[in-house]
């Protein structure tokens, strides 16, 4: 790990003043597990880390005017422990519970979950975000790709978005608030995540001089998340599905089905949402939606199985809602 400067502001204003206009001039240090790992591996170098754990205004979880406000500095454990989230946003609670381990959830933040970098083993091994070999050829499609993307890799980003909360937030139509020294802006969760087109681009809309400050989640939708994973803990999901349904009586008025860990961003399966629209949840409508969710998947040489996992994740997330468990 290269040496770096450290700053420990207690106000958002101070923190923003410490950031720069280029990545690596200064970076935000929240929970820290991800950025410190990247820096230990020397895959990423930053000249200054700005600790934001002591900024009170970034914390807190509250409901106001029918929407949930999650401070970006709230820990994943606080998310799980929040009774309102467990009751009305089981999708978020389930996604948070799936993150790594108690130790990570105790210090890892909501903002950190959204901004963490991909776990692609070529990227982490120093081959760059888009993982190209010495001859410029992409390594992933010709290499070991069992954990890689089955959707959205046409632009050359083969990694999968590692965010656990991302799919749930996209499904719930959440908005993500970003602040910089010159002001604040609000981005739809669906537009926060982007597939980068170059090694130096990022996987989110966040700019180097910005900090994620809070997430606003509208209430009123039935929602659930299902994760398929090999290990009970300390493991990344192989595929996940987050669903959010606007109900009208017993039928679905509108639905969002978002897949996780299958694409460089949370993957909105629009066809699955359409398949559910106007229908009630039954085994057959759920199966149709699950099939629709994976239409158009482009699996790589070793990850065809993830198509099936994504399909099952959608089915099981919807089934949880149908059975009243979520």
């Amino acid at each position: 790990m290269h040496a770096f400067e450290y700053a420990n502001p207690t106000t958002l204003k101070d923190a923003l003043a410490l950031l720069g206009n280029r990545w690596g001039d200064a970076d935000v240090l929240a929970g820290g597990t991800d950025i410190l790992s990247l820096m230990k591996d020397e895959v990423y170098v930053s000249k200054r880390l700005v600790n934001i754990k002591n900024i009170k205004e970034l914390g807190g979880i509250s409901m106001s005017r029918g929407a949930l406000r999650i401070g970006a500095g709230a820990t994943l454990e606080q998310l799980i422990e929040n009774a309102e989230i467990r009751k009305s946003f089981p999708s978020l609670a389930a996604a948070a519970r799936g993150v790594a381990s108690p130790q990570i959830r105790n210090i890892g933040t909501v903002g950190g979950d959204l901004c963490q970098r991909p776990r692609c083993w070529y990227y982490r091994g120093g081959n760059g975000l888009l993982a190209k070999g010495a001859n410029g050829r992409p390594l992933v499609p010709n290499g070991e790709n069992k954990y890689h993307a089955i959707f959205g890799h046409e632009g050359g980003a083969y990694f999968v978005s590692p965010s656990s909360l991302g799919p749930a937030l996209v499904a719930l139509d959440a908005k993500i608030k970003l602040a910089s020294a010159s002001g604040t802006r609000e981005v739809e969760a669906a537009k926060f995540f982007v597939a980068p087109a170059s090694d130096t681009a990022r996987e989110t809309a966040l700019l180097p001089n910005e900090i994620v400050t809070e997430i606003l989640v509208p209430a009123g939708m039935r929602n659930a998340t299902y994760e398929v994973r090999e290990k009970q803990a300390l493991d990344w999901p192989l595929a996940t599905a987050s669903v959010a349904l606007q109900m009208k009586g017993n039928s679905v008025a509108s639905a969002k089905v978002v897949l996780g860990h299958v694409a460089p961003t949370p993957w909105l399966a629009a066809a699955a949402g359409q398949a559910l629209s106007g229908k009630s949840l039954s085994d057959s409508t759920i199966a149709e939606a699950a099939d629709a969710a994976v239409q158009g998947a482009k699996p790589l040489s070793q990850n065809k199985y993830k198509v099936q996992l994504a399909r099952v994740a959608v089915k099981r997330a919807l089934t949880e809602i149908a059975r009243g468990r979520a």
């Binding site: 040496a3 400067e5 450290y6 820290g32 410190l36 170098v45 760059g128």
Partner: protein
Amino acid sequence: MSSRKEPEVPKKTKPAVSRRGFIQGVGLGTGALGGALTGTAEAAPQSAGGAVSGPGAVPFSLRINGKTHNVTLEPRVTLLDALRDSLDLTGAKRVCDRGTCGACTVIVDGRAVYACSVLAIDMQGRQIQTIEGIGTPDKPHPVTSAFVEHDAQQCGYCTPGFVMAAKAYLDRNPNPRSEADVEAGLGGNLCRCGTYVGVRKAVLDAARDVRRGRNA
């Protein structure tokens, strides 16, 4: 280590020493450069407000096992390396060094945390508890005793981390009902020798002992 190719290095490099931080560091010189002092007087928090410290070594204080330790360390030093290399608190082990195994588990403000994945300088003002602070060989913590009774260790290198994770878990969940509860609480720790059967029993037993101790 092998240097990995193509790191994302910022294009323009400038002198990395921050004047403000450097001056602040000198001003607070404690005579503890390169080492650590244990005492009661705390160094002022490093780089409060908009100040920047480092990248060279800077003096600051850590509150560990109820004692204040004044250290002088670079910002890049993790809590784990500070504990092990500067304070000779070696119960927390460096195994994966990436927040994926739990051998370095310590308790910060009542919560289990991987010491390898937080910076020492970032832990100013926090209450840090290490395995050395919860008991001694002569007066072991009930969780430690239960681990011995159930042979929940073999080589023992993961064990202090497990004990700390178990203690943190039981402090917040004093009544685990089943082995499944324990599994959820201790999912953040890995053992290579394969001692989980003993760990499950030990944590359930320790919960009973801790409850009994509280009632006594």
